[in-house]
């Protein structure tokens, strides 16, 4: 189980969950917030895990100067400095994957390895997509899982009354960052050529929110990126296929990065 720590980033008091030992691995969470997925327990046997809560999510306030995804990419570069980390293994899921891709395209020499997991950030023109901002919470949670029983279990947790304020905040901050263009930055794709960090793209084969076509787009745009598609898995591999996810990510970062 992780312990809770705080770090000061440009004057902002950041909430972090930390566990394990080994080379540093920073995990950037998705729009569902800073819940600790089971897979991170497995990974913490090999790495020192950091799971920061993005400003504006869950219990965290939003400083006025965090308004765009690029602001968050710079924010996490500042976090690496604040924690005085050596080159970092950076794993980003969904919205966190977008932040990681932006960060890597700006400053990849600060990274040791990069893993993008069902990442938003790119757009395929005219591709039909589920609009997460039109889905109610139950529809959104159901759309995240390939296995309907897993979805119902996750929903039971998500619908607990004490979780409601966090959901409102998570949704609000996600919308602030990704309302329009829809969860993407039109210039990101051309900037991905700047990433010379060993990179793994991990995707749930049945992702309904960000179709696996986006995995190919990332894999083609980032030099020498590898692609791992996880079967029987939706948008959240670290929650739905934790062992497989931890093995694929852990092995890649241990061997290649």
């Amino acid at each position: 189980m992780p312990s809770e720590e705080r770090a000061s980033v440009a004057g902002f008091d950041l909430r972090l969950q930390v566990a394990g030992s080994g080379p540093p691995l920073v995990y950037l969470h998705g729009p569902d917030g800073a819940t600790w997925p089971t897979a991170l327990d497995n990974l913490s046997e090999r790495f020192r895990l950091y799971l920061p809560e993005h400003p504006g999510f869950g219990q965290s306030e939003r400083p006025e100067w965090v308004d765009t995804i690029q602001d968050l990419a710079l924010f996490y570069l500042d976090l690496f400095d604040a924690l005085d980390l050596p080159p970092v293994n950076l794993v980003g899921h969904s919205l966190g994957g977008w932040i990681a891709a932006e960060l890597a395209s700006l400053c990849c020499h600060r990274l040791r390895g990069l893993v993008l997991v069902d990442a938003v950030g790119l757009k395929i023109p005219n591709e039909p997509r589920l609009d997460i901002f039109r889905l109610p919470l139950d529809g959104l949670v159901r759309a995240m899982y390939a296995d309907s029983a897993a979805a119902e279990r996750a929903l039971a947790v998500a619908l607990a009354p004490q979780e409601a304020p966090a959901h409102v905040r998570n949704r609000a901050m996600t919308a602030r960052l990704g309302w329009n263009p829809y969860l993407s930055n039109p210039v990101l794709q051309s900037r991905l050529r700047r990433i010379h960090t060993p990179t793994l793209i991990v995707w749930g084969a049945q992702d309904l929110l960000v179709p696996v076509s986006h995995a190919s787009l990332y894999a083609e745009a980032i030099p020498d990126a590898r692609l791992a598609v996880i079967e029987a898995c939706g948008h959240a591999p670290a929650a739905e296929q934790p062992e497989e996810f931890a093995r694929v990510v852990g092995d890649f970062l241990a061997k290649e990065a």
């Binding site: 039109r134 109610p136 409102v168 949704r171 609000a172 919308a175 602030r176 309302w179 329009n180």
Partner: protein, 385 residues
Amino acid sequence: MEFYAFHLMPWPHLPAGYRERYDSAWVTLPNSTYDPEIGQHLYGRYIDELVEAAEAGFDGICVNEHHQTAYGLMPAPNLIAAMLVQRTRDVKIAVLGNALPLRDHPLRVAEEIAMLDVISGGRIISGFVRGIGSEYHSFGVNPAHSRERFMEAHDLIVKAWTEPGPFSWDGRHYSFRYANVWPRPLQRPHPPIWIPSQGSGETIDWAAERRYTYMQTYTPLEQIRPFFDQYREAAERCGYTASQEQLGWAVPIYVGETDEQAREEAAPHLEMLSNDLLRTTPELLFPPNYLTEASMERVLASKRGIIGARKSFEDIDSSGLAVVGSADTVCRRIEAAQRVLGFGRLIAFVHFGSLPAENTRRNIERFAERVMPRLRSLAAEPVRA
């Protein structure tokens, strides 16, 4: 008391199977279900109805702005206002749009309202709104920036109307090297500004600080008092007592020969407004960041009934979402509401839902002849908070 006739200009011909096939009349209801040839006749009829209201003696007639919806077909309210300017002589024309954050160029709004004001001889009331949440889905503007864009566009427009140009503007959302609006408006310092709202606390305080008329739209009667009280309290904090003219109640009204006839004629069309044209989902109506965390609870509470279950005419009538009855009944109900709420402007939806032309005409006539004269003297004195 001043009386204004308000029209949404809705599309009443919803497609067969609408309730089963579509979750809303907003955002995604296909525009293939709109027929422009019928639309031509509807626009003509609806504009005539507002002109009839002007001729019947209403103090003002109102147009408004909604986008990509069957609920109202005035995406460009200044266009309809321009037609009304040419069709009328003395009546005030209230543009209850413009939805400032949805525009990328606030100076265009300043120009259009100034044009209307000059051409009409100073008859324009300039409403400023943020736009319904659904319109942020339709227009792609980030609701997180809605309030900032509203405030900044407002400040820029008022400055462009009142201070000599050219001046430069360096804001967070808008930036101009030369702001120099031609023509300037005729009314000094500028056309009256009205703020229609659903009851956001920040908006109420902001409107009271500037002494703008605050207008509460389509809200259950018992929930309006706290909004108006907040306005009056904010005014006292600003060192003045709000006049009743600074508060407006916007409500569908139908006057029949008898209570029974009024109910019979109005009920299906009020139900259509409430259950079909206003049909939406919480996600469409309140996109993330549209309301501040502070306002969310209060506004959601006041709108819960509106976006929730189907409403019968009895529900609508008993909650005061509409005023329906004989002239006597309508007078009595408005008087009672006025005593509780202390508003000085009544904005009557003289048409609603699929109300036919003949009923609309009779409604306007009966209201103007039998209700307005009896209520004219209400709201002469300010009410203290």
